[in-house]
Structure formats: structure tokens, C-alpha cells
Symmetry: C2
DNA sequence: TAGTATAGTGTTTATAATACACTTTGTCAA
DNA sequence: TTGACAAAGTGTATTATAAACACTATACTA
């Protein structure tokens, strides 16, 4: 066994019922047995960091097909009681497509927890969560990652709820819709969806075509 | 020797004569002997990543007292021909204070190169440089890191030259000064400095006091 | 066919960004 | 001493973007 090991930890978010959630796994082994932690594990010898993150996410939770990007590398000498472990953390977004996350191969307990009110976490995972939340808020306002938290077809109200859940404040419906339209990255479809007893909402899809131009001049999504 | 090692590499920038420069070290050993690379080296057993970055910077270049932040972790299995080496890269800014960077303890050749026209680099260091440049441009526009590239006392023209060197375009003097003043983070001093034969320029200093308020609402430095 | 609950839509005002040119001032040389 | 030099320093008008704000439309249900 090496004296210095490298692990990956994945912070994956979704929005459900207007609430921002994060996926946690209950630890079955010491240290921190019984506490919640992010899905993760050691990097294999011939595996890239991205591949390791994706593999761990699949193995422990059954979640695939997500947006994934590297977050930060946590390397304090005593962050893991078992010895020197450097953790490359990842940031992921679950599109809310149908396949629900569930216990993976090692049958650990898996749960979507309220990201802004998480339970007590193992290791330095609370610091990792805070950093991921910061990154999420930032990316939401300045890029189009918001769409990664929705299925291919969505209503504008659903999109607005994603923004509100993450930013933690209400947005004005008219201003929101005007800016989305101005950005030119959503296309209205000829389909509608009925949620309650009231008027059905038009479905939309994301189209990055026009966005390419915009990326040059900085980025944008100023809500 | 472990099969998996962790290194740090530091990309440190400065601005001289209106030119953005990056610090490079000429490799004295294989692999990539004779090529230029960033200062860096392996992380010690009981050392945090930040500490390792700072130590390597000092050892190889004599540069201390810099702004330092983690950039990205590069971990492709074959990025280093010697075996599996994961590199945690760092991003640093040199304030242009007087102590010139020079060869450090191991007497390697050290040089400030044009950041936008670097020589051929070792390993995947060109990719790291591109990423660091992106981060630098972004931070310059949205935070106050620009001031980290200047000594405590500076003229507004010097500050503007820092922005122009990094953004790669000319800025309007009046608009630039208005925005700096509006941000409220520079204080005019009762000192002047003469550069050529013409009217001397007033010196200014950076004051983060008022900036604290601003950080809440996002950040800002929109030039 | 009246009630319900969300969908959907414009205008006005305030703030921020951009474009643009002349006067000031300390030195140096004639 | 004074005129040339070269960068320092300063203001306004226009355009674009952001924010505040309230009513009508519609599909279903009872």
C-alpha cells in the first residue's frame, strides 16, 4: 500500500420540487462509519481522473449520463485518518431524467439530501459541499449549466424553479422569460404539458447553436 | 518508489513593460531535457498542496511573497513518461516588487517568457498555461486580482497597462479611471512619480475596505 | 358555465457601459 | 525665459442593460 493515495469524490446535484438536492452515501466502514459522504473512491493505476469520477458515481449510485467537471483538489495532510489521501473533487449535475439514483453494486444506503441543509458529513466533505455550492451558483449565473439540471423537454416555469432553488430567491417571471428569450438558447416546441387543473405550459428545448457566438465575449446569464 | 505520485506545478505571471510574462525553468534532466517547464516538483509526505507549491516556487526561482491559488489537477495516465504523475497546478501573480526572480538552489536556468508567445514547453505544460491564462483573464475582469500584479504604490496608467497586457486590447483612459474610482478600492496618495520628461503621475494604493461589501453581490470589475 | 390555478405577456424607470477630445503640467533644450 | 514635448488628468451625451411592476388567457373540473 502506498503512503500517498489519490481519491475522487463527486458532488452531484439535482433539483426536485423546487429544492436543490445533493447525493450522499452512508458509510458502511470506519472511519466515519454511519456518517454520510459523497460517492467516491481511489483512482486506479491506468485511469484518468475524470474516468475515475464517472466510474465511482456509477458503481455507488447507478447514476450515469451527467454533466461532470473537476472542482478542486483537497490535500491537507490529515484530512483522512487512514493516512495521506489527496481528494480530487468533482462537480456533477443530474438532468432529472427518469432513472432514479439507487444503491449501487456495494448496496450502500444512498439518499438525495437537501443541499442547503445537509446532515453531518464525513471527512472534510462539508467544505467540499460549500465549495461546490459556490461553483454551482456562479456557473448558473454566468453559463448555461442550468439546462443540465433539466430533461430535454421542459417548461419555462421548471427552468425558473431551477434558478430559484439554487440562488435561494424568487425571480420575476417576466424578466426571467425576457432574458431567456434574448439569450436565444431555448426553442419553443409544439407540445404542451399539463401539471394541475390549469392551463397547460408549452414545452421548450435547449439549443446551444446561438450560444457559441456569445461564449467569445465572456459568457453570460445574468439573472 | 510509489507507482502513483503527486506533483505541483506553478504558473506565475507578471507584467513588465506592458507585456504579460510567465516564469519558466529550463529542465536539466530527462525527460524533456533542455525544454522549458513551470517550476514544480513532488509533494512531500506531510506537506499541504499549497505549501508544496510555495516551497517549489522559492526553491527553484527565489520568488516569494506572491498571490497563490490552486488552478486545476491534471491526471491523464500518460502525461509524464516516467510513470503515473498527477499534477496539481497552481496559479500565481508576482507583484513586480523589486526582488528579481533568479536561479534558485539547484541553479537551473530561469526566465520570464512572453505568456502569449511561450517557447515549446515540456509535458502537458502548454495546456496548463492556456488554462492559467483563461483563469487570469477571467479573474481580472471579475475580481480585484489585477492589483496583485502591482507593487503597493502604483500609477493609474500602470494599472491600466496591466489590464491591457492581459486582455490584449486597448482600454479607454477615462472610462477605465471612472470605473476604478466607482469601485472605491484605490486611494490617491500625496506622492507623485516621474517616468519621462513629462508631467509626473499621482501614486495610488489599493484598499480592500470598500470591496468587502461588493463581494456579497457577486464580484465585479467589468472592463 | 362558473371557479380555479398556473401560463403567458409590455412598459416605464433606473442604472451601467460606451464613445469620444481637449486642457494641464513638469521637464528639457534652445 | 520660453516654447516644445509627452504623458497626466478630466466630462458629457448616447446607448444598452437591468429592475420593478399587474393583468389577461386558457384548459380543466365540478
Amino acid at each position: 500500500m502506498n503512503e500517498l493515495r489519490v481519491a475522487v469524490d463527486v458532488v452531484i446535484f439535482r433539483v426536485r420540487q423546487g429544492l436543490l438536492q445533493v447525493l450522499l452515501v452512508k458509510r458502511g466502514l470506519a472511519p466515519f462509519e454511519g456518517r454520510w459522504a459523497f460517492p467516491g473512491g481511489f483512482v486506479l493505476k491506468d485511469e484518468s481522473l475524470d474516468a475515475a469520477a464517472l466510474r465511482e458515481l456509477r458503481e455507488e449510485t447507478g447514476v450515469g449520463d451527467v454533466y461532470l467537471e473537476q472542482l478542486y483538489t483537497f490535500g491537507e495532510p490529515r484530512r483522512d485518518p487512514r493516512g495521506r489521501v489527496i481528494s480530487v473533487s468533482y462537480f456533477a449535475l443530474f438532468s432529472g431524467g427518469e432513472p432514479e439514483a439507487k444503491a449501487g453494486s456495494d448496496a450502500a444506503e444512498v439518499e438525495w439530501a437537501a443541499a442547503y441543509k445537509p446532515p453531518l458529513l464525513a471527512f472534510d466533505h462539508r467544505a467540499i459541499l460549500d465549495y461546490a455550492l459556490q461553483r454551482l451558483r456562479w456557473k448558473l449565473e454566468w453559463t448555461t449549466v442550468g439546462f443540465k439540471l433539466l430533461p430535454k423537454k421542459f417548461t419555462l416555469t421548471e427552468l425558473q424553479k431551477v434558478y430559484e432553488a439554487i440562488l435561494g430567491r424568487q425571480l420575476d417571471k417576466r424578466n426571467f422569460r425576457r432574458k431567456v428569450a434574448l439569450l436565444g438558447v431555448v426553442e419553443p416546441l409544439d407540445e404542451h404539458r399539463q401539471e394541475g387543473i390549469q392551463r397547460p405550459a408549452r414545452l421548450h428545448s435547449f439549443s446551444a447553436r446561438k450560444f457559441e457566438r456569445l461564449k467569445d465575449r465572456g459568457l453570460l446569464f445574468p439573472f
